[in-house]
Symmetry: C2
Subunit: 309 residues, 2 copies
C-alpha cells in the first residue's frame, strides 16, 4: 500500500472545495484524469471513500468532512513551516549561542546583547563565558554558534572577523600617579600582577613586556581583572587592564591609570565561527552589527574614563 502525500491532500482539499473534478483540476493546474487518479489513489491508501460520486453531484462522505478539516490543518502547518524557513533567510531566527572571554564580557556583554536584541528581535541569545581554548573547543563541538575572543585564534576551521582594537593601560597605585610611565624594560623589573594561566589577556600582557609566557613567574595571579586592580590598590604591584575596563574597575580602588606612548599595547577583539557553519551570512551580519556598534562602545568607554574622578 502506498503512502499519503501532501500533493494528494492538496488536490483533495481543492476538490472538496469545488465539488467538481473538472474545475478542481483546473484550479490545481493539472488535467482532470490526473486529479481523478490522485484522489482514487488517496482513497485506496486510506481504504475509505472520501467522496460520494452520485450522478451529476459530488459530495463529501461523513468521514470526508472530518478528513478535510484535518487535511487543511496539516497543509496550514506545512505552509507555515515553509514560510518560517523562507523567513529565516535574512532574519536570524531561533537560538544563538555566543561565547565570550571573561576579560571583555563584563564590559561589552550588556551592549552586545542590547545591540543584538535590537537588530534581531525574537532571537534567543544564550551566553557562555569562559577562556579562549574552551570556547574554541565548544565552538568546534557545536555547543556554540560563535565566540567573541582576542584575535588571532589561528584555527583553520574558524572564520575570524575583527571587531575592535582595544589598548591596554597600566594600573598603578594612586601614589605612583605622577611618576613617569615605565618602558618595557622597566616593566619587567616591577611586580606585574596577571590573570591566571589560560587567559589570553595574560599572554598578551606578557608578550607586550617581551616575557616568555611559558616560564613560571613569582608574581601573584588573580582570577579576574577586578581582583588584580584591588591588589594594585593594596600596593602589591602593577597590572594591565584593557581600556574598556577602566571605567568600571578603577572606580573603587586607590589606583591610577597610565597610558603608554606608541606603540601602545593592544589586542584585537573579534568574532569567530565555524567555517562550515551555513549561517555564515547571518553571523557576518552580526559581526557587521558589532563592528558598527563598536565605535559607540569605545566612545562611551572613553567618555566614562574622562568623567571618572
Amino acid at each position: 500500500m502506498s503512502h499519503l502525500t501532501l500533493k494528494q491532500l492538496r488536490y483533495f482539499t481543492t476538490l472538496a472545495r469545488h465539488g467538481h473534478f473538472g474545475r478542481a483540476a483546473e484550479a490545481c493546474a493539472i488535467s482532470q484524469p490526473a486529479l481523478s487518479m490522485q484522489i482514487k489513489e488517496l482513497e485506496e491508501t486510506l481504504g475509505t471513500a472520501l467522496f460520494e460520486r452520485t450522478s451529476r453531484k459530488l459530495r463529501l462522505t461523513g468521514f470526508g468532512e472530518i478528513f478535510e478539516e484535518r487535511a487543511r490543518a496539516i497543509l496550514r502547518d506545512v505552509d507555515a513551516l515553509g514560510d518560517l524557513a523562507r523567513a529565516s533567510h535574512d532574519r536570524l531566527v531561533g537560538r544563538l549561542r555566543i561565547g565570550i572571554i571573561p576579560t571583555i564580557a563584563p564590559y561589552l556583554l550588556p551592549r552586545i546583547i542590547a545591540d543584538l536584541t535590537g537588530a534581531f528581535p525574537g532571537l534567543d541569545i544564550q551566553v557562555r563565558e569562559t577562556m579562549t581554548p574552551k570556547l574554541a573547543q565548544e565552538l568546534s563541538d557545536g555547543l556554540l554558534d560563535t565566540a567573541i575572543v582576542a584575535l588571532p585564534v589561528s584555527d583553520p576551521a574558524f572564520v575570524e572577523v575583527p571587531i575592535l582594537t582595544e589598548t591596554f593601560v597600566l594600573v598603578r597605585h594612586l601614589e605612583q600617579a605622577e611618576q613617569p610611565v615605565p618602558d618595557r624594560d622597566k616593566l619587567r623589573e616591577m611586580r606585574l600582577l596577571l590573570l591566571e594561566e589560560g587567559h589570553c589577556f595574560r599572554d598578551q600582557a606578557l608578550s607586550f613586556c617581551s616575557i616568555p609566557s611559558g616560564r613560571p613567574r613569582e608574581g601573584l595571579d588573580g582570577s579576574s581583572l577586578s581582583t588584580l586592580v584591588q591588589m594594585v590598590g593594596a600596593g602589591i604591584g602593577v597590572t594591565f587592564i584593557p581600556e574598556m575596563a577602566v571605567a568600571v574597575e578603577t572606580r573603587s580602588a586607590r589606583v591610577s591609570i597610565a597610558r603608554f606612548d606608541d606603540p601602545q599595547p593592544s589586542r584585537t577583539i573579534g568574532m569567530i565561527w565555524r567555517r562550515s557553519n551555513p549561517l555564515a551570512a547571518q553571523l557576518d551580519d552580526i559581526a557587521q552589527t558589532f563592528l558598527k556598534a563598536a565605535r559607540g562602545w569605545q566612545d562611551i568607554s572613553a567618555a566614562n574614563h574622562a568623567t571618572a574622578p
Copy 2:
C-alpha cells in the same frame, strides 16, 4: 522552486535522528545518494541549511532544530490522520444523520439511539423527524445518511433493508370494547380518524380499508397518533395505530384496542440509504444491528401491552 514533500520531511527527521547519511539512508530503505539528494533538495526548497556538514560530524543548524520539531509534529498529524482513516473501515466514525417518520419515532427512537450508541460508541447521532417524502428528498440531497421509514419507498437510488413488521390495531371507544371486531366493509361505514395528508401511515390505513387515498374525506385529520387516540376517547370515531404505539398512547384515554383476524393490517419498517453511499457496508452493519434488536423491541412492546390496564 519545488515544493515541500512529506517524503523529504520523513527523510529529514530520520537523518536528524541518526546524524549519519549512510545509516539514515539504510533506515529509510534507500541508498545514501538518494537521501543526500532529497536533503539537498529540501534545503534548496527552504533556502536554508538544515545541517552543518563538517568533516566526520553532521550537526543540525539552529534552524534545523526548530524545523525538526515542527516536521515531527506534522508527520505525527499525518500518521494520525492515516490511522483515523484506517480505523474508519470497520468502525463507523463521525456523524450519522438519521431520518425517521413521526409514526414510529416516539416509540422506536429511544431504543434505536440506545442500540446505536451501544454498538458504535463515539458516533455523533443526529435525528430528523418528518414524513417520508421529505426524508427521501433530504436523503437524496445528502442532508441525511439514512432514514427509517415504511417500505417500500421504491426509489431506485435507495437501498431498502426491512427491519421489522408491525401490525395495526383498531382503537375504539372504551364502551365498544365488547363489540365484535369490524371487517373492512364495516370499517368503511365507521367514522375513521386518520393522520393528515403526507403521513404514510394514513395511506397504509386507507389501503387496508380499500379506500382510494386521493379522494377527499369528510373525516377529521389529526397531526399525531396521540391526538387521534384522544379523539377516539372523546367518542368522535375510531382509528388505527401501530402495535408499538399501543402501550404509550392508550394509557391515558378512554379507548379499547381490537386486533384484526388474519390477514392483519401491517406495514414493514425498514432502513434506506443512497445506493451510491460508499458507507454501504457500515450502514448495512447498522441495519443488522437494528434487525437483531427489533425482536427485543417488539417483545417489549407486547409486554407493555400485556401489562397495560
